[in-house]
Subunit: 190 residues, 2 copies
Amino acid sequence: MAVPEKAPTLVNGVAVDQLFSTVDAVKATPSIANFKFQIKNKWATGSQNCSSAAGFTGANQEFAHPQPFKLEADEPAILLGKDTAANPVEHLLHALASCLTTSMIYHASSRGIRIEQVESSFEGDLDLRGFLDLDPAVRKGYQGIRARFKIAADVPDDQLQEIVRLGTGHSPVFDSLSRGVPVSVTAERL
Amino acid sequence: MAVPEKAPTLVNGVAVDQLFSTVDAVKATPSIANFKFQIKNKWATGSQNCSSAAGFTGANQEFAHPQPFKLEADEPAILLGKDTAANPVEHLLHALASCLTTSMIYHASSRGIRIEQVESSFEGDLDLRGFLDLDPAVRKGYQGIRARFKIAADVPDDQLQEIVRLGTGHSPVFDSLSRGVPVSVTAERL
């Protein structure tokens, strides 16, 4: 949250000086750590809808993205859609993958661990009998998700595992999804 | 999962005949309800990474999307990124919004409830002191998420609330996120 006066020191593409400045700034003024992220969604037809992420609040300020990011959703034909975009449960896997990766990179960078490449694959099991109300014992959501990371870094084997734990130990989406989040939902007339 | 011989009956853009055929097919052969969704992610630099959703398995078959859907992630400048794409926790809100909307539409359609418009807004609270390891009592993930739906439909007020409960009562992402999912993570060398 500080603007450096000289070129930032980059580790893995992360401006670690700014990261440390952020930590110091939050220690001095904890309220700047409060962020509120938001999107708006609009239904088109059937399985097609689109979200817009226009901005967020944090550090006691409002921020706008350079342009609103459009995020589409659809379903494949076998799930009665037109297959024009990833479906909601695929978007959920992307949220998890991207957050684990960024969290791992930021925290490795802050420790001076240089990473060359990171690739990962995610898969989740879903039993449609839940969604279709065919068996009340089957949950509607994912029954389990498996993530496999492949990392290229000049570190010993035990540090390779530590790098991944930096991801799982800090990722907001991993924490949200693995522990659950209270979600309140209201409805009114348009 | 059945191919209709005539033009499908559409309610809210959903082929309800096919939906009922799917229910019958799953009743007859429960194993076809097992789906596995998957993505691959590749780190670029810093906060930038990209997922690809190329296909999935379900109904004892493998399916490929018409082309792999690319899903980008970045962070805004205040969070040390380049702001080229939505960030992971915004993607999580999109996954939730799109899933609640589609679940609501499918189940309303199956009940013959015609819906004209659906718009929604989602916001989630995140205290960065968790991610930054500044307070162990502060969770890394969202502390809470609020969703507000606006619905245009020719229904009485109590049915408006029921429509939203069709979403929360069936959405795989809502169920996953509000109740939590076991996530296993492994790492190996690239």
